[in-house]
């Protein structure tokens, strides 16, 4: 029988990998995928708590989080497309219009 700690530790490790990815990558699409990775890590810990409490509310929360992630993916990719159209690149270091 697996303790809940292992699921939470796995969630923490994946979350950290996603965070490091957001910080070190320059490709906007990869940064966006790292954000999806972090969302998934949090979903995992929600489902783990839901299962170990025997309460279905955590899984409902994950359901809504999936819907929000879908909306976020659509909007984010549209923004990346708009950036690409202006800069001909998705390198975020080249997006410096508002930087001083």
């Amino acid at each position: 029988m697996i303790e809940i700690d292992w699921y939470l530790a796995l969630s923490a490790i994946i979350f950290t990998i996603g965070m490091i990815g957001v910080l070190i990558r320059r490709n906007a699409i990869v940064i966006f995928m790292c954000v999806e990775l972090m969302l998934n890590a949090v979903n995992l810990s929600l489902i783990a708590f839901s299962a170990y409490h025997g309460d279905v509310t955590g899984q409902i929360l994950v359901f809504f989080s999936l819907a929000v992630a879908a909306a976020e993916a659509v909007i984010g990719l549209a923004i990346i497309l708009a950036i690409f159209r202006n800069n001909l690149s998705v390198d975020i270091t080249k997006v410096n219009l508002l930087r001083w």
Binding site: L23, N40, I60, I75
Partner: protein
């Protein structure tokens, strides 16, 4: 038996996540993210969340990642030549921050480890479509309808953001 499945899926998930952030090719990153999502769906199955495992594969690994791959193909990006260029301090800070945050989470987890719950026996019925739908369409009906509005707004907003500005091209109206 269960523990072997968990270790296998966890190693697969962590390895594919690491491969994703370290891959120079964006398409490879996307495919490794699909692998990560599939192994997380396997972990959901271990946690008796059958419905969410299927939804994870259908919506995330299916729909969202196809959208990602579609945009990657549309933009036709080159491979990044160097993943780690001359700015060294940035990467050191990123890794240190990651290690600090991971240590913090694991430390706080270790502090409460004897207060965490045991696996509940009625979980065999809680993850099914019936149980989830029962709660979703009674207690959370309003939130569910708001999600529909959110998705509609997202689609309209995406079209508004991503379309060419046709008005600038000429005064044909």
């Amino acid at each position: 038996m269960e523990i072997y499945a968990f270790v296998l899926l966890a190693v697969l998930a962590i390895a594919s996540a690491l491969g994703m952030i370290l891959s120079k090719n964006t398409v490879n990153s996307a495919l490794l993210l699909v692998l990560n999502l599939l192994s997380l769906a396997g972990v959901y199955l271990l946690l008796q969340a059958q419905f969410l495992a299927i939804i994870q594969i259908l919506v995330y690994a299916g729909a969202i990642m196809v959208l990602f791959l579609f945009v990657i193909m549309l933009l036709n990006l080159d491979e990044e030549k160097t993943l780690f260029d001359k700015i060294r301090a940035k990467y050191v800070v990123a890794f240190l921050l990651g290690v600090v945050i991971l240590g913090q989470i694991l430390y706080s987890l270790g502090g409460v480890t004897d207060m965490l719950p045991e696996l509940s026996p009625d979980m065999e019925f809680a993850g099914t479509v019936e149980a989830l739908g029962d709660v979703l369409y009674t207690d959370y009906l309003f939130v569910f309808e708001m999600t529909a509005i959110l998705l509609t707004a997202a689609v309209v907003g995406a079209i508004m953001i991503a379309q060419y500005k046709t008005k600038d091209k000429g005064d044909t109206e």
